[in-house]
Symmetry: C2
Subunit: 552 residues, 2 copies
């Protein structure tokens, strides 16, 4: 970084370290509760002070196991107090916390743990069978730590030398001083679960994590304060539960961790008994919770607002939460490579004067960036597109909590915008309006590029799915000799329903301009999905690469 | 900074620069208004986009005047758009913005400008006579810039080569790229106005300023969002208007700048016409504004909350704003050496369950620290005192926006706590309760140390001032052969009032424990004050050094 031969500030040099978040919470909100619904069957009550003490014990235990600065400690665990202690004990002591999604295919988990070279693997009680199966493939992993005490150990385990989290902690006195080091040191790793190729690791730093915690607590973001009771429904293995374990320490609020119990009844019970005011998660969780609440005629007594992200929030779900339950819904967008927060949809002072319908349309967009992130949309040669709410382009981002590369990969993923390097291509296609409100219209690889114009596959799918005979729809790009690509509609009909190709295509009339209507329809008995339920459009594109469009 | 031989994060390196705040506001809230009530007589309307453009023009103009990185640019100016443009144009281009309080004695202003070696001095229209008087003493100042256009120039000026802000800008095309440099580079200087000795300069960095902006916008601090309309009553020469010009850019909200027009009628008019939701200032401004509003039977239609600091907020003022006007009052504490925010009084989730009176008592304290700042109380040998709400000690702080030294001074002001160096002694005496709520009880130099116990001079003064015959009171330490120091009460009686020494001392019965009651009373016709109205207790202590206490 070139510095002017100027004057330096005379301010204290305090690195932005993850341990400083925990020290702050323990010192200034020490009694504030950490509540965990556990696999042992109880609701466990801890505090920020106790979390800090146990994180220090863990740091001692990991050092005793031989961990060196920079070593990776993997986790396969749900949202609970021990996972929180691992977050802080591992990162705080200069090790790297590597959270892994237990719901991936076992061979993916093994690949990820091997790629990260996890020296230690900590895992929750009900994941012991999974880990027993994985263990032979985990050649870098020297220690397996079951996140419970010996009393809860199942009768037999095929894992030799299995360690118990509570025994490791009990052997230490907690007389540990959090080390100071360069704030750009790696703190944690999350792997993206791409639909193609191997997963790739995003390596967060202490600095990026603390800055993200500052930004995500802001009123225009998650609006977290010491008056909140926060229940992260989003798992701690999904991009660090969107940073909530860090921002909750930063503001010193009560944290409620639901374990793996994410069904509507369990969640509702915890929301009510703990006075939860704020939660965050993907749309499907809210659908399940609402179904329970509505079918039982219940209402929420403390729940005030939620951030919904991960995938686009259906407008109907947003309206039900807002209008029937008085819950503020904040639509958000982010990704693993962004730690994850990029944009949130919150109205500005001026927009509060708009008619209700215009406000609602803005709230349904993915929203504006927070300070620390910048974004742009670009065409395929990297030229910036206007912010007119109409022009759709590749969404590029840069900022203090955006990755510059992937773990162990020499190639830079970054691209240029108008010749200026250093932008991360998100793989999303979006519009941005004059007020900076971004709306995702497609994934870059799914958009149909027809005669130089871009057609949103998602928009065409949504129209098809609104047809009464259609159960599921996919729109893919099909090669075309004149237009390069044209949209092809693939549909699965509802059981017993029928509709003609022509009737389906004429259903688009008046909903999109004529040149965006698909060129053809193929009826299928089912569409291919990934393990996590995502439509495998790549597979479909390969399957229909040679499909002959009418008139082509 | 020692780094573990570990793994480094793979995140984008984006320095925390003041220019990035303005670029963010211009890009994502470009149309949002900056409204200024000007000395030219108009209400001027600008925007974040226009501010950014004009700041770039200013950066070009200053370079053309010969300014080099690190050079200081002084300001003598009220809250207005040109002052805001100077904040960003100066700091953003690697120069150092040095705001000076125009209400200081001229010789103090000259001393400060010379100490900082200001190469350029920018000043508001009505301060031309002051600057004409100062100019001969400002031997380091090469350029004087009147913050207006030539049309508003008074007929004559004794200043040779006077420049005009608008002419400087008009000569530039704004085609300027904000430079990147080390985020620890100095961004601005504020001098403390101590009651003794020369003022001392706090040298803020870009990093400390941006981190302070993050923290001060948090829900537990000033709670600033894009839905706010912010009017900083606190002057931009008082510790950068408590950082609001930066945090408002960070959140991209509308900013209303009142110029020097801080009388109740002018402020009220601006609050209403611009829809101000949030303001911040010292208690006296609110007294003036309330007097106007109450005498005219008016009410506020948009004003929702205010941060009050600078000196302790009288509980009666707090209650009037809360109960009669529905305005949330956030009591805050800070100082120049803290950029300035240290603590704010906002209730936690648990405290919301306390009875109203207990809540009110907490809100009257100075409050809790924000993440980024830590605090402690210590006795005179630097040993930490307990957080019991009773033990009073020297308040020490450290953090990312606390100074480590003063401009041009080799000696470190920092002290140790329990043997650990690196704490800044605030000069305040305070208690901290178990929840981390801090309450200032005195200034360190004013507290009376009697037989190893500390007696708050402020508490004794407040009791005396509640006596119907007393107009003003000061309590100072008087040397005592047995107890080291004992309190001496100095009073000025109201015109026509009379009260005996014994009656005044017996007035303390039941209000403080017996050994805290002053040993003697001296009646005076007036008490000495500084230019800014502060009681000069040092002068009083010198005057009464030989006072013979009864029984001593």
């Amino acid at each position: 970084m070139p510095s002017p031969a100027g004057l330096m500030g005379q301010m204290m040099a305090m690195p932005l370290l993850i341990s400083s978040l925990l020290k702050h919470a323990a010192r200034h909100s020490g009694d504030t509760e950490i509540v965990s619904k556990r696999l042992e069957g109880d609701v466990h009550r801890s505090s920020w002070a106790a979390t800090e003490f146990r994180a220090r014990q863990l740091a001692q235990a990991l050092a005793r196991l031989g961990c060196q600065p920079g070593d990776r400690v993997g986790t396969l665990a749900w949202n609970g107090h021990r996972h929180l202690e691992i977050y802080y004990g591992v990162s705080g002591s200069g090790l790297v916390c590597h959270t892994i999604n237990p719901r991936l295919f076992p061979e993916q988990i093994a690949w990820i743990a091997q790629d990260a070279r996890d020296r230690v693997l900590c895992f929750d009680l009900n994941l012991l069978p999974l880990v027993e199966k994985l263990a032979p493939a985990l050649t870098h992993t020297e220690h397996f730590v079951l996140m419970t005490d010996r009393a809860h150990m199942p009768a037999h385990s095929a894992l030799p030398g299995l360690l118990f989290f509570e025994e490791l902690l009990a052997a230490e006195d907690g007389a540990y001083v959090w080390p100071e080091f360069d704030e750009n040191t790696a703190s944690s790793i999350c792997y993206t679960s791409g639909t193609t190729g191997h997963p790739k690791g995003a390596v967060y730093s202490h600095r990026s994590t603390v800055l993200h915690a500052f930004a995500s607590a802001l009123p225009d973001a998650m609006d977290c304060s010491s008056r909140d009771v926060v229940l992260p429904v989003v798992p701690m293995f999904h991009v660090n539960a969107w940073g909530l374990p860090y921002s909750c320490a930063l503001v010193g609020c009560k944290l409620v961790l639901p374990g793996p119990f994410l069904d509507g009844a369990s969640l509702y019970q915890l929301f009510e008994s703990e006075g939860v005011t704020f939660s965050a998660g993907v749309p499907t969780v809210w659908l399940g919770l609402l179904q329970h609440v509505q079918s039982q005629g219940l209402k929420f007594s403390s729940f005030k607002r939620t951030v919904i992200g991960g995938s686009a929030c259906p407008p109907a779900l947003m309206k039900t939460l807002q209008q029937d339950f008085g819950i503020e819904v904040i639509h958000a967008w982010g990704m693993t490579e962004l730690s994850p927060l990029g944009t949130l949809s919150k109205l500005t002072s001026r927009q509060l004067g708009l008619p209700a319908e215009a406000q609602q349309r803005l709230l349904e967009k993915q929203g504006r960036v927070i300070y620390g992130i910048d974004m742009a949309i670009a065409d395929d040669v990297g030229q910036a597109l206007p912010w007119d709410g109409q022009s759709a382009g590749n969404l590029l981002v840069r900022g203090s909590w955006v990755i510059s590369g992937y773990f162990g990969q020499a190639a830079s993923p970054l691209v240029s915008l108008d010749g200026e390097p250093g932008w991360f291509p998100t793989g999303d296609v979006a519009t941005i309006d004059a007020d900076g409100f971004m709306q995702i219209t497609d994934r870059s690889k799914d958009v149909i590029k027809s005669g130089g114009e871009w057609i949103s596959s998602i928009e065409l799918e949504n129209i098809a799915m609104a047809h009464p005979a259609v159960q599921e729809a996919a729109v893919i790009a099909c090669p075309h000799p004149k237009w390069d690509e044209r949209p092809l509609l693939l549909v699965v009909l509802k059981p017993g329903a029928s509709v003609s190709r022509e009737a389906l295509l004429s259903f688009y009339a008046g909903q999109v301009v004529g040149w965006q209507v698909p060129d053809d329809v193929v009826f299928l008995s089912e569409l291919p999905h990934t393990a996590t339920g995502k439509l495998q459009k790549l597979k479909l594109r390969e399957q229909f690469r040679s499909h002959r469009l009418p008139g082509a």
